[in-house]
Symmetry: C2
Subunit: 267 residues, 2 copies
């Protein structure tokens, strides 16, 4: 499972002032804590700063990579911000995200190619985010085919099926699970990633729904997630699901996590 | 989800003396607590008593049904015990279990017919429990077809794919998930049921693995489980998975469980 730590995002209350004030020490601690908790990659998002986004994203890349060896997920649809941040990034960056929206695709894919980045492709196009699995699968196939034509290797592609709240459409999670399963079957070399928390919007005990959704999505083929690696309950279920899905032979990583005291046994 | 409460089993330390000593008060409390926690059906198992099993099972049926309205799961492969207990049972009993073993099938299916019971069919035959999903699916299809020939309605059939520990064969959970998915696709009217705890045998933090396995299996089509309904963490994830899989429209039962204080939000 490719775990992308989500905490460095200026939409979070503690992060915005730290980024605006260029508080390197604080940001580096947030990065280190996430890597320590199991993040394979650190998401950086300065989208709320609008005009300040390019400078802030560039600063975040340098600041975070001064503190941790992990590669980053540059979480921006803004080509100007990406163009400023990518040259500073060490290792294989992930660009989050493109979609099948023509303009967005046309402006960002050249950056993916130039820097050999991984890229997140959202299952939406110029008509928006479709309700049905059929249409999302169709968009995913089109994205994968276009990216292949542009020379992006399958191993660098992460499809995000996009999760809507089950409180507003009760088949929202099922649509994602079916999309994952069908795209995975046809493109076994392509990766998948998504955020979890949208699914539980408007319902109580949201962390419980996010946890169950992560496990269901892993069963359907999800092999990456943008999440809070310091959520011990979530990470413990993730490790358990890896062992059950034979992505962790004989549970060796699971056992190691237990020995390290990292498994939160739920009540 | 059809939830079968597993606690009344003489292999459990507190239950054996209570059954041997015919302690109705204690057994009735264990039954009531399980129904209160969400069990739809109560399992009764007196298998360890050997020669005493028929009398004990008959006593359990009367004792438990004097206390709760729920139907029971008669957990015995012993035709003599079943024959003694079934006439005393009110409502639709569940017989757990038959298999594709010829002798076992031949001796128990007449009881299923005579009493109009539901029946659990294990995915094993006279050659034992197969390692592969292919062979388990084949056995399930054969069982379903034989039961149909014997006049048992699909709605009364619960296929148990049988779970082995992932610690001894690392694809053990995957085999179950694939079996569920394939049999469910071909026989959408048939039900599924299984126990959870075998999967985690030999590994630490077993409840975590059992929880993740339940969610994965529900995603693959499981619609019944034999479990401890008083395990709040497990039941909470079960309710969350039901909401996500659109088996609980707009999460209404989930919300009710939250309001009743029954959701254990994990750490």
């Amino acid at each position: 499972m490719h775990i992308v730590g989500e905490r460095i995002n200026t939409s979070r209350k503690a992060i915005a002032p730290a980024v605006e004030g260029r508080d390197a020490e604080y940001i580096q601690k947030v990065a280190r804590d996430q890597v320590g908790a199991g993040a394979d990659r650190i998401d950086v998002n300065a989208g709320t700063l609008v005009d300040g986004e390019p400078d802030a994203l560039a600063w975040l890349v340098q600041t975070v990579q001064d503190a941790v060896d992990a590669p980053l997920c540059l979480d921006s649809p803004n080509p100007a911000a990406l163009a400023k941040a990518l040259p500073l990034h060490k290792g294989k960056a992930m660009i989050n995200s493109i979609s099948a929206e023509k303009e967005r695709y046309r402006r960002i894919v050249p950056l993916v190619k130039e820097y050999g980045s991984a890229v997140v492709g959202l299952c939406m196009d110029d008509e928006g985010l479709p309700d049905t699995a059929d249409r999302r699968v169709e968009i995913a196939h089109r994205l994968i085919s276009d990216l292949a034509d542009d020379g992006i290797p399958a191993d660098d592609i992460y499809i995000d099926p996009l999760v809507r709240p089950i409180s507003t459409s009760s088949d929202a999670a099922l649509v994602v699970l079916e999309t994952l399963q069908r795209v995975h079957e046809r493109h076994p070399a392509v990766h998948f990633i998504c955020g979890l928390s949208n699914v539980s919007f408007g319902l109580p005990a949201r962390r419980l729904l996010n946890q169950a959704f992560l496990v269901l999505a892993m069963g359907a083929g999800l092999d990456g997630a943008i999440l809070d690696p310091q959520d011990a309950g979530l990470m413990s279920l993730l490790r358990a699901a890896e062992a059950l899905l034979n992505r962790d032979s004989f549970g060796l990583h699971y056992i190691q996590a237990f020995r390290d005291g990292k498994l939160a046994v739920t009540p």
